[in-house]
Amino acid sequence: MSEPDTPKIETTVQGTGTSETADSIADRGRTVIESRNLSVHYGDEQALQDVSMKVPRRQVTAIIGPSGCGKSTFLRCINRMNDLVDSAVVEGELLLEGTNVYDDDIDPVALRRQIGMVFQHPNPFPKSIYDNVAYGLRIQGITDKMDERVQTALERAALWDEVKDQLQKSALDLSGGQQQRLCIARAIAVDPDVLLMDEPASALDPIATSKIEDLIEELAEEYTVIIVTHNMQQAARISDKTAVFLTGGNLVEFDDTESIFENPESERVEDYITGKFG
């Protein structure tokens, strides 16, 4: 019996190929995360200003914009990582499948177990590759079929073939790109609904970056991916929807990626995309 506060995670232990059922096709595109008038300030500094948007399920949503415009802040609101900053004040609502995660009786720890996060700089634990991927499972008290879950996660992160016979090796011995894929495997091992990625490839070389980008497109078949990136070409390549944040934490435009890049509505967005600033 696992700890009472965790949801029973029923992993479908499959091989690498996934087939979408009729249900899940209809599922795709439904709103999974919605922010309503979300505002955040750190002390006197306004980081997010009245952001309202709906993130669709099982698609890649990119958040782009110049630095300091609240992209990471928005991302960290989704899994309440901003709670860890003392001076952060959050107003408005953020709904995960209809439930406001900022309600008083919501446990942030439980929330983060259902949402995975990958950071800009790879941060594997100084443990073995196996123990890194198993970490999330262990803290939730999931102890059955551990080996299979680890293998599945590593396969889905396109890392299994490279590490399958050295699982006890230290994670710190891997290259930067491999470490980041390990962090992705670690995040998806507990089968989250949503995967948040904060500039996951910005610290990597171009080859590793393209591997991560391919991986993200595959991941979107299983998970909802929200990715913050300052690389516009990357956003144009891999995302289905794009949100543009500009100065002061304002969400200026949110639409299908093609529309944003070929035919933006706002002039400021057009200026940003064509490189006039930022």
């Binding site: 860890l84 439980a110 700089h121 941060n123 634990f125 803290i139 995040a187």
Partner: protein, 562 residues
Amino acid sequence: MGTENETTEDLRRTDGIDLAQLRGGLFEASLVFATVVGIFALAVLFGYIAFDAFQPLTASARWYLLYFGTLVAPTAAYTLYVRRRPAARDVNAKAFGVFFGSLMLALVTYIVASALDPKDVFVYAIFGAVPPTLVFLYARISDDRTYTGPLVPVSIVGGLAAGGALFDVVRPIVGIAQEWVAYFGFVTLPVAGILGLVVARRYAAKSTAEVGVADDDWRTVMGRQAKYRGGLAFGAVVGSTLVVVVAALVNGIDPAFWVVIFSGFVVPVAYVVGQTVLDDADGRIGVAGPFVVVGGVLVGAIIERQFAIQGLESFLTPNLLLNSWDGLNASNAGVYPQIVGSIVIVAFMALLAFPVGIGAAIYLEEYAPASGWGGRLATLLEVNISNLAGVPSVVYGLLGLALFRNALGFGTGIVFSAAGTLGLLILPIVVVSTQEALRSVPDSLRQASFGMGASRWQTLRNVVLPEAVPGTLTGTILALARAIGETAPLVIIAVATTRYTPPEGLFSAATALPLQIFAARSSAHAEFRHGVVPAAAVVLLVLMLLMNATAIVIRNRYERRS
């Protein structure tokens, strides 16, 4: 034209004396002097002490030649050989560490336990260790982890309390058994258990690495093979110790000491040596290190006795280490009660001070908010601790006096008061060094753990604390080293300077090594002033240097890794 020549002329170095260069050279020389003069002065003073303690002029030239041949030359040759091989160097360091570390640990355990009565220790060890073991087993079987976390310390405390309550009932039963049985219980069995776990875990890790995702997540489903090997190791330790007991009994020797030495020292060394020799082809030559040194000393001693070679008439004799003080006869005087006293005091001090100090550091680094009322409290706590670090040790003595003698009504100069007073003294050191160790853990690891939905306590336990262990260990060992040398607080709380028996329990009169040195400082006899007391000082210094060296080695080893 002309100006061009002038400029390039200016750039060339001038012949002759350059005042600026001279000044720079003198300055640097004076800096080097400053850096080295203190070390040099201390080395000279240490030389005096060593001279008086060891009396090097009393040994014949042949003696020096003998030990040069058996000890110095082989060790030097071995060191030069090993220096070029990094694998062997690492193994050598580990071998020395295990050899002398376990030897010291075993000796200290025996000394402390024999002073306090091993059967008492045994009773409390059983009551304190069995409940948490049961909790662990329950967690393994039922797979329910929610309650087991807090239950472990609760069960330990509850067990000890039950032990205290039932002591008078249980102790007579234990009293029937021989003394060595008590040692067997709280030394051999834990060592066997630890070794079994280590063997099983190593096998599990190795097999997983070789076969891929195979038989083992050792923590949840320990492979049968791994369990089997672990059990075998456990049985081997228990069995071999019993063989030693039988051998001792047959020869009419009291097995108690040998049980401790065998299980606590021989077994760990044998395991490390054996496992290295089998596994590590490159480095296996490194295990010979400690044996070259110890073997050299033993061979030299045997030859010395056989051929009656005139050796050192030093004051650092077994008498010094095993007798009690004799103010009249220098060669008979010893500091055994003081050595035991120092160890006992410092051991209890550690038990009292380390949990509080480490807990406070964890609070300040991991739990305290950065702003608001909580933040201000945390700042106040930190300022308070740094002030406490600067308070003279005599004042802590007064605090101990007021607290333990006046407020709590204990007798003067007992072990508990000494341990408590010293514990208060080193509390700031423990807090600050643990804080630094925690700070050195990169924040990105905490973020990763929180991002995965670990609670603060889970993050601490699984990610932060394991990373902070080396730094914390270094700090605590340095604190212990400082405490062993402290004298002033003990004088203030009226610990007796000369006692002839080691302390028997927490509430009996204490004694400490530095106090004895203090008491004997103005002894009339030259043999004491320039013989026995320097020898006692050497004992204290060796203890301190060993502890400092251990701390530095730990710090270096883990700094190099990251």
